[in-house]
Symmetry: C2
Subunit: 262 residues, 2 copies
Amino acid sequence: MLTVALYQGPESAGVPANLASIGAAAARAAAAGAQILITPEMSATGYNIGSLIAQLAEPTDGSIFQAVADVARRNGIAVVYGFPESNGDRLPYNSIQVVDGDGKSVTTYRKTHLFGSDRTYFTPGDRWIEQFELDGVRCGLLICYDVEFPENVRAHADSGTELLIVPTGLMDPYGHVATHMVPTRAYESQLFIAYVNRVGTEGELTYCGLSCAIAPDGTELARAGRGEELLVVDIDPGQLAKSRAENTHLDDRRRDLYRSIR
Amino acid sequence: MLTVALYQGPESAGVPANLASIGAAAARAAAAGAQILITPEMSATGYNIGSLIAQLAEPTDGSIFQAVADVARRNGIAVVYGFPESNGDRLPYNSIQVVDGDGKSVTTYRKTHLFGSDRTYFTPGDRWIEQFELDGVRCGLLICYDVEFPENVRAHADSGTELLIVPTGLMDPYGHVATHMVPTRAYESQLFIAYVNRVGTEGELTYCGLSCAIAPDGTELARAGRGEELLVVDIDPGQLAKSRAENTHLDDRRRDLYRSIR
């Protein structure tokens, strides 16, 4: 059994304040028994912050990482956080990094499917399937718009992902992605999804919250409102096996047909 | 502009009564200005009828076809109906046939993705993408469980389908397929979907209705309850172009990545 905390927050307030909020959420999550805290897309810096993206970009062992590693170590909890990852002279990557409870880097994922305005500020990633193991559960990583493509979730299921972790920055009027599409993704590809959104406003964007943890049978384990919130859920790998036995979508694919027009 | 009627019915009552109900729906649909009437999976015969499936199976020019062609001609409206299609000594296909307003067969589609109990009674189809043109709108065909596979809807979008017609026999407790997955399919692959379900009970199955017409931006053009109902909606190809310009999912796919692990 893996206990997962989804931190829907903070409202963007500059790096030091954001890191302090992530630290407070980590303490609450650890106290609730969670082994991992998931925070939204670009949680450390803010997302719709224009040229600040490039200014705040750092390598995977930069000062933001050091601060998050300290939070993780102090609370004995793994943390997933979002940040702009520097990329030489080119635009940074829209990245998330997983830090374990000892403060060590586990893996980094760079958003592969850039959404609209993303393209002004970021370089798309070229490594598709990033995974890591936590307490016997195989976890996979996507960011925001990535999860709108069924191909990405299928590939995770086929690669063994049991819990798909999706930090996001979903804004109005796209709430149906959180309420309709994410449960559909979990059901059609038979895995758990933790979808963790931003809150508040940044410039012309209003984030819609609605973070959720979805079981492989499509049911909601937890659903946030639109404000700052911490959700804590238990992920039971036994529930995955049971759901896959009942909902045989992965086995029922007709790959013979799919290959015919590719 | 194409006007489409979705007939959520009839409750299974034997072939003559079913055909009479389809005839009455066709008259109402034509009076409402519809150019096509869509009826559910196995609308002519019933779906959960055990060995009657094989007994009622017929070729595409059989007596059920003749009766539906007469309905179509009499009302000057195209009709999509479901029936077991005979298949020599093997189990029949779970088929739908499109009949035009002159009573001529346009095309037939055989369900390719068989659901659970389907496999006891049917042979899966081997022709994937079936399409036809109606008043300048390119229509595609799937049946029930087929639409639960994003691959099928993607392939229709890539093949030019603008309106995806999906007769279905969706039962409790799978209502989330109608309310969550079908709108997700329309949005992620940017096309119209007409999803037309059965009603009532047959043996241990209770159909959940909830038929719907969904626009490419994911919004509901119409949504039925759980009882017999006729929905009439206008399909505007201009709305498709507008939605695809705003929601660029089809263009934003990373086929370079998808090919990497296939």
